[in-house]
Symmetry: C2
Subunit: 352 residues, 2 copies
């Protein structure tokens, strides 16, 4: 019998930090029976998070999720810094005692916590760390760039604005167009959705690019058109190192820039996002020494714009500002962005 | 009684990877009684490595170092990937059995090796991991950028070409000019020399910038003009993530670019180093969104040019190419570069 998931997102399911749970619900193939968040309990997931199609019940406690048939508790929040708060640990212990397996993608590994390990052992349950990293990881060898695969990489102006979703939508469009397209997960949410991959932000800093190369090598066994999920932003005061290591380790042929409509600064930081054409150029200049790659399109996240016509106007403005084709692939479908990526792949002779 | 060091550099003391040992000998305040390297044994350190002033005997075995009075064995090599080879481990065990403390700055931590831990315990010796990282490290808070300190950051065109040495030379010049100048070590060699700091390439990738910020905060307790050691290069296929995370976490006011004379490509990689003016501009563009900083000077490493006049010609050419004042601070002294840094600090109002 396969897992039935309860997504733990206490206090944060409506927040952008709840993206892990949102992604598992929206794009995952896994059976989700409940979301645990006392602050939105009583409603359905799709009433709280726009574009989350499935009407999964939100409950207030872990026990209620057990009553709905959950077999596995998954932390569905990506907190800043990735630490495990004490309140969450108590919920995980409650889940283990109630007979649930437990899964998380934090930097604090479940398997390193003696209390969780003891409770899992006592009840014969599994602890799964999505950010687990292979023991033999090291710096890149150069093998990845010599493989006969084409790499598209989604980058962004900030964190948690939809780089993963853009990648998943483009994979869908490319697959429908008959391509052997593969989503390459680089963060805990993507790993939770796809069931493989690596959270590159969790590796030893010296091995970021090595981790990205390894994912390209593994992806090449699954198809010849890889969409490598981006992380962070070249502008981000905390995460830019991961962004650049991933960009250089993946050596993309084409970039797609994700941006959240109507934002002018990095979230929580006094760092201005430059005009989109400048930002595209910064990514291109930074990628170029290793492998030249153009930003072929801009994916605009319009989730905070209620009206469709206003969303379309924002897309037209971003197209003007960036000088690239632009659309919101989650709201209006990925076809337009995929067409732009396909044209760019043809232009650089990497169409396969 | 303080430590008397034996530097273990088997087979690699003459190589650029021996930089940890070279740095400890050249810039450290610690007592070094021997280098262990059977391939150069019988000579003195300063005969094998140019500009290493101290005539320390090179011996073939750990036992000979013990006979010369060593009390601590330090791995003096920074191998690619930072793993501990089996042959080195055997030497460390020999050292522990002979009564030496052991110190290393590898990614493979000494304290994680059961054989080394058992031998250290048996003989009452210390295992010291220079790449050890504080348990409570996380993403940056923004505190570092609000402190009343000025930050100079040495960046580079490649790894292992002298960014640390340039920083140490500039600290010397600034101190002689009466400034409260502090060298902020960000790699295992720097930590070995200065006795504090953090190897930022060893932290969890998400925490690179957080580690850099913490070092700025710690540095601010030691003085108000910080010279933060750079790591890797924005162009490096393996290490660029660490480079950018460090650059953004340190938020420098001024940059100094280190370059190895007569190199056109990243060592061991098919990646061309752009003209120096372009490379300076790439660093400036990448730093700018967080805090604008100009490359005030270029430090040219001329160690592979035997003749002083030829070295001076190479410096003049690099000055022309970069459009910045240039000198080799290790060969000809740091005064010229320090003057350029001081002018730039005055220009941006950060002279203190």
């Amino acid at each position: 019998m396969s897992d039935r998931l309860a997504i733990y997102a206490e206090g944060l399911f409506a927040n952008a930090h709840g993206k892990t749970g949102h992604g598992i619900i929206r794009y995952g193939q896994r059976d989700v029976v409940a979301v645990v968040d006392s602050t939105t309990a009583g409603r359905a997931a799709n009433e709280v998070v726009p574009f989350t199609a499935r009407a999964i019940p939100i409950v207030a406690t872990v026990q209620e999720a057990v009553d709905l048939g959950a077999t596995r508790l998954v932390i569905g929040v990506a907190p800043t810094g990735g630490r495990l708060p004490a309140a969450w640990k108590a919920a995980l212990l409650e889940g283990l005692h109630a007979g649930l397996d437990v899964e998380a993608g934090l930097h604090d590994e479940l398997a390193a916590d003696p209390d969780l390990v003891a409770a899992a052992k006592e009840h014969g349950r599994e602890l799964r760390d999505l950010r687990g990293v292979p023991d033999d990881l090291t710096t890149p060898s150069g093998e990845g760039m010599r493989l006969p695969v084409t790499v598209v990489h989604t980058v962004g102006s900030d964190c948690a604005i939809g780089k993963m979703s853009v990648g998943l939508e483009l994979v869908r469009a490319a697959s429908e167009a008959g391509r052997a397209a593969v989503f390459v997960p680089t963060g805990q949410t993507g790993v939770g959705i796809a069931g493989w991959g690596m959270a590159v932000d969790h590796v030893v800093a010296d091995y970021i690019a090595g981790a990205a190369e390894r994912l390209v090598i593994e992806g090449a066994e699954r198809g010849d058109l890889l969409f490598v999920e981006g992380q962070g932003s070249l502008l981000h005061p905390a995460y830019s190192g991961v962004t650049l290591g991933l960009l250089h380790g993946a050596r993309p042929h084409v970039l797609v820039l994700a941006h959240l409509a109507n934002t002018t600064h990095i979230d929580d930081w006094d760092v201005a996002i430059p005009p989109l054409d400048e930002l595209c150029e910064l990514y291109e200049r930074t990628a170029a020494p290793l492998r030249p790659a153009r930003v072929a399109a801009v994916a605009l996240n319009t989730q905070h714009i209620a009206d469709d016509d206003e969303a379309r106007a924002a897309i037209a403005a971003a197209e003007q500002e960036s000088g690239r084709p632009c659309d919101d692939p989650v709201r209006f479908g990925p076809e337009r962005l995929w067409a732009a990526v396909e044209r760019e792949l043809a232009a650089v002779g990497a169409l396969g």
